[in-house]
Amino acid sequence: MNAITETRAETRRKRGRGMAASWYGIARTATIDRAGAWAELDDGGTVKIVTGVTEIGEGILTVLAQVAAEETGTRPEDVTIGDNDTARSPEAAHAGATRQTYMIGNAVALASRQAREVLFEKIAEYWEVAAGELRAFDGEIWAEGSNLRMSVADAVAICKARGTVPVGSASFTANGTGLDPADGKGSPWQTYVFGTQVAEVEVDTWTGEVQVLGLWAAHDVGRAINPRGVEGQIEGGVVQGLGQALMEEYVTVDGHAATHGFAKYILPTALDVPQITCVIVEDEDPTSPLRAKGIGEPALVPTAPAIINAIYDAIGVRITTLPATPEKILAALRVQQP
């Protein structure tokens, strides 16, 4: 590469970095949110959980299985989740508002805890120890400071033989208040999360194309129940934010869709994805029995402004209307360099 072509290449592709911070509220807004769940410690040391909402991809079933296993002293694979049916399960309201782990996770934790307490009471009687001495984890139950130990499966059989089915039920509430209609005064949520992202971009000043090469995402999620699942939510949110920053646009002309299929509505593919570094910050939430908050929606809030700020850093063009398409970038560069 000679000096002239090197200069041309440098002039053509320019890099920069930008950042953005964000905040978000957990669960339904400016209202009282609630979710119910039932739990049963079942034969064979298995667990039945019933709640009225299911997976939309975020990994809530796995989170609920972990929570129920933790609270009942069993294993996630021992948990069966009956869900999703208004006629067969208690109300858990909707799958949205970054509320699944916080609302339903906590309802399941409390219901499972209640079922375990029933079991502990009966086993404490059987062992003639105080219920407070009992512990259970990973399919085993034992009394602290003794050699009393058995499987949860045996414990459930003993509990039932003594006439009790170990069940629990719970409702979890988040107390938001409505907003004053005149000045908006109110406490819309009882817990908040915060996030910050940094984007590194390369702008091709000949084509206007922007590539996001690196993305660092630090998000407070409260206690992370399943860190890998949290990463999955952050990565997915970042790429949706990238799509909105750079390419996606549903266009109508006098009310008629001009982008009526995926050939016209452009979505990010594997080739558009930056290397993403997730940093999970765990500011444990005292309003949450699980100490967990959430991550579904907040993950994408800072992505677009971080990318747009990075484009400015690279080429001095301030994009104020999304998306930052190649056409828009080229048009702005032409104005900048007449």
């Binding site: 920069g16 799958a95 990973d138 908006g184 690196g214 209307t321």
Partner: protein
């Protein structure tokens, strides 16, 4: 054209079927062979959910006529592992958490398998390019690519197969432990059945007649010809709604089917339930609707002008919702400012693009309970609304949430469950409706396009003294979630910063555009895009680092939010520190310093990609191309 007799091999078994001339390979697999692991995401070869192998080559089965499969050897996702253990690719997807909603995953597994069969040594860039024809909306691809690299290393013999089953050691708690997703095996094998994959005995197929006009009065609907067609079991319009018509997340302004007038292109006007899809489509085409066109509104600013057409009688000013926040005294705040910045921002209308189009089944059970299976994000609220619409007690309506193939807020609106329930009650047979991608695009809500007029005052040391924030959003033809979206946009508007004086107004208005509704962040993204752009502009103006200006203004424990909520705690300082450290951020004023930065191109960034590099001869050629420029 007559039906065709077809013989082929599917997943190692001989298959002989008579297929319709118009049938696609996808229809043969899903409808005739019940191999529903192969999904239909777009029907146009754009998304890859229907990927299968035909004679060893990866093919999008929605684009291939079934007749062309004569004599072919076909392999679907169900055939990869058969009844044996999962393949290395499937196991790797399970290990890394590569499946979320799972709807794209069978196609992704097929594409990954094809990639590694083609080149067991494929590097990451080649993997990305070979999988570039498959869209995933949930995962951001990162864990999918991680999985393919692990599977490659096992297949190529560079890693022991035991890595596929290895997990981190369990400590003293299942909380904080990376338990593998319990739903992943069903997703990587294609065994999970979404609503469109379900079949019930005696089930009818529904098709919907949609408005071709953005705003028009319905003069007359003539369904006689459609109703007389053999195989048509019922044709329904607004007249068939038995109870109180109207649904919506906040205001019940949307009829099950257009009542008296249509308000957007794609709005449901009538629906047919027939013995099969083709008959239902023909019947829909035979429905005659006479419209009287009305002037339309396509710009939210026009909607607020005096004399603008009125979209809903109950809202003569076209305003769906206005949310005001007032805190302190902005006049005093701006007077105290050393610098005042004023800018306008705009965000576009965005499609959720979940890979699973809307789908559902309704039937009336033996106890007269009207039951609807659909990927609804809010079965509780849908049950309430549907009971009113059907005029039934709550316990005679049962909503079951089928596996959701991506939602992101877009499946909170009850835009088709009412039609299904009414048709099931009229026919006393199960009825299924599966949207096409085109229908999904025009009939479902989008992210609100918004405009923000922003005025921010700051002292010379970077403290925000006042903000005036005014957002106007296009709510489209129906209210859906607009009220809540405006509320959340207002509450979050000025970002995580303590501002003593502010005046915030968010408004959504009715137009004749595709409705806007709930979409991941519910207005928070549109508002904070404006705020975070302003913060960087202010930092440049005042000579501050972007992190620094945010730290000067950030919420802390004890801060009073924009809605005057006293915060007990705030973790913004922690996430700012974490992002700054992780990204090795070089402190400085954001004044187009990209060329001077020393923090670019680290090991935690990827290389820029050059399309076609692999086809032109691999990375070496790509480098040469770069050098030649």
């Amino acid at each position: 054209m007559p039906d065709m007799d077809l013989s082929c091999t599917v997943n190692g078994r001989p298959v002989a079927r008579r297929v319709a001339a118009h049938a696609r390979l996808l229809d043969l697999l899903r409808d005739d062979l019940n191999l529903t692991g192969t999904k239909e995401g777009c029907g146009a070869g754009e998304c890859g959910t229907c990927s299968v192998f035909v004679d060893g080559k990866l093919v999008k089965s929605c684009l291939m006529p079934a007749g062309r499969a004569e004599g072919a050897v076909i392999e679907t996702v169900e055939g990869l592992a058969g009844r044996g253990p999962l393949t290395p690719v499937q196991k790797a997807f399970h290990k890394t958490g590569a499946s979320q909603c799972g709807y794209c995953i069978p196609g992704m597994v097929m594409a990954a398998t094809a990639c590694l069969r083609q080149n067991p040594e494929a590097d990451l860039d080649e993997i990305k390019e070979r999988m570039g024809g498959n869209i995933c909306r949930c995962t951001g691809y990162t864990k999918i690519l991680e999985a393919v690299e692990i599977a490659r290393d096992v297949i190529a013999g560079r890693a022991d197969a035991s890595v596929l089953d290895a997990d981190e050691t369990l400590g003293e708690s299942y909380i904080g432990h990376n338990v593998r997703r319990i739903d992943a095996p069903a997703k990587v094998t294609g065994r999970l059945r979404y609503a469109a994959d379900m079949k019930l005995v005696d089930m009818l197929q529904m098709q919907v007649l949609r408005s071709p006009h953005p705003h028009a009065r319905i003069v007359r609907i003539d369904t006689a010809e459609a109703e007389a067609m053999p195989g048509v079991e019922c044709v329904i319009t607004a007249d068939d709604v038995p109870g109180k018509d109207g649904f919506g997340v906040f205001v019940h302004d949307q009829p099950v089917m257009a009542r008296g007038k249509v308000r957007h292109v794609g709005e449901a006007v009538a629906a047919v339930a027939a013995e099969d899809l083709v008959t239902a489509r023909r019947a829909v085409a035979a429905i005659k609707v006479e419209y009287e066109l009305l002037p339309g509104l396509y710009d939210p600013e026009d909607a607020l002008k005096p004399g603008a057409p009125v979209i809903h009688d109950y809202a003569p000013d076209n305003v769906v919702k206005h949310i005001p926040l007032r805190k302190g005294d902005i006049a005093a705040g701006f007077a105290a400012a050393d610098v005042i910045l004023e800018h306008e921002f705009g965000t576009q209308q965005v499609e959720h693009a979940y890979l699973e189009p809307e789908a559902g089944i309704a039937f009336v059970d033996h106890d007269d309970v009207v039951t609807v299976h659909s990927p609804s994000q809010n079965i509780t609220h849908h049950r309430h609304m549907l009971a009113e619409i059907l005029g039934l007690p709550i316990n005679k309506v049962r909503m079951v949430m089928s596996p959701v193939g991506g939602g992101f807020g877009g499946k909170e609106d009850m835009i088709y469950q009412g039609m299904l329930a009414i048709a099931a009650m009229k026919t006393m047979r199960p009825v299924q409706l599966n949207f096409t991608r085109e229908e999904s695009l025009v009939a479902s809500a989008k992210r609100h396009p918004s405009r923000v007029a922003y005025k921010m005052g700051l002292t010379s040391d970077g403290r925000i003294t006042a903000v005036k924030f005014e957002m106007l959003s296009d709510g489209g033809a129906y209210g859906m979630s607009s009220e809540g979206v405006m509320r959340k946009a207002a509450i979050l508007s000025c970002g995580p910063y303590e501002i003593e004086n502010l005046q915030v107004d968010t408004r959504a208005v009715y137009t004749n555009n595709t409705p806007s509704g709930a979409f991941r962040t519910f207005g928070g993204m549109q508002a904070q895009f404006a705020t975070e752009s302003m913060m960087d502009m202010a930092a440049e103006r005042l000579g501050l680092d972007p992190f620094e200006i945010r730290r000067i203004n950030m919420y802390r424990a004890g801060s009073l939010t924009h809605t005057q909520h006293r915060l007990d705690r705030a973790s913004l300082d922690q996430v700012l520190d974490a992002a700054e450290a992780a990204s090795r951020w070089e402190t400085g004023v954001p004044s187009v310093r990209g060329a001077l930065r020393g923090d670019l191109g680290g090991p935690d960034t990827r290389r820029p990609c050059t399309l076609g590099a692999r086809l032109a001869g691999g990375p070496a050629t790509a480098a040469a191309t770069e050098a030649a420029e």
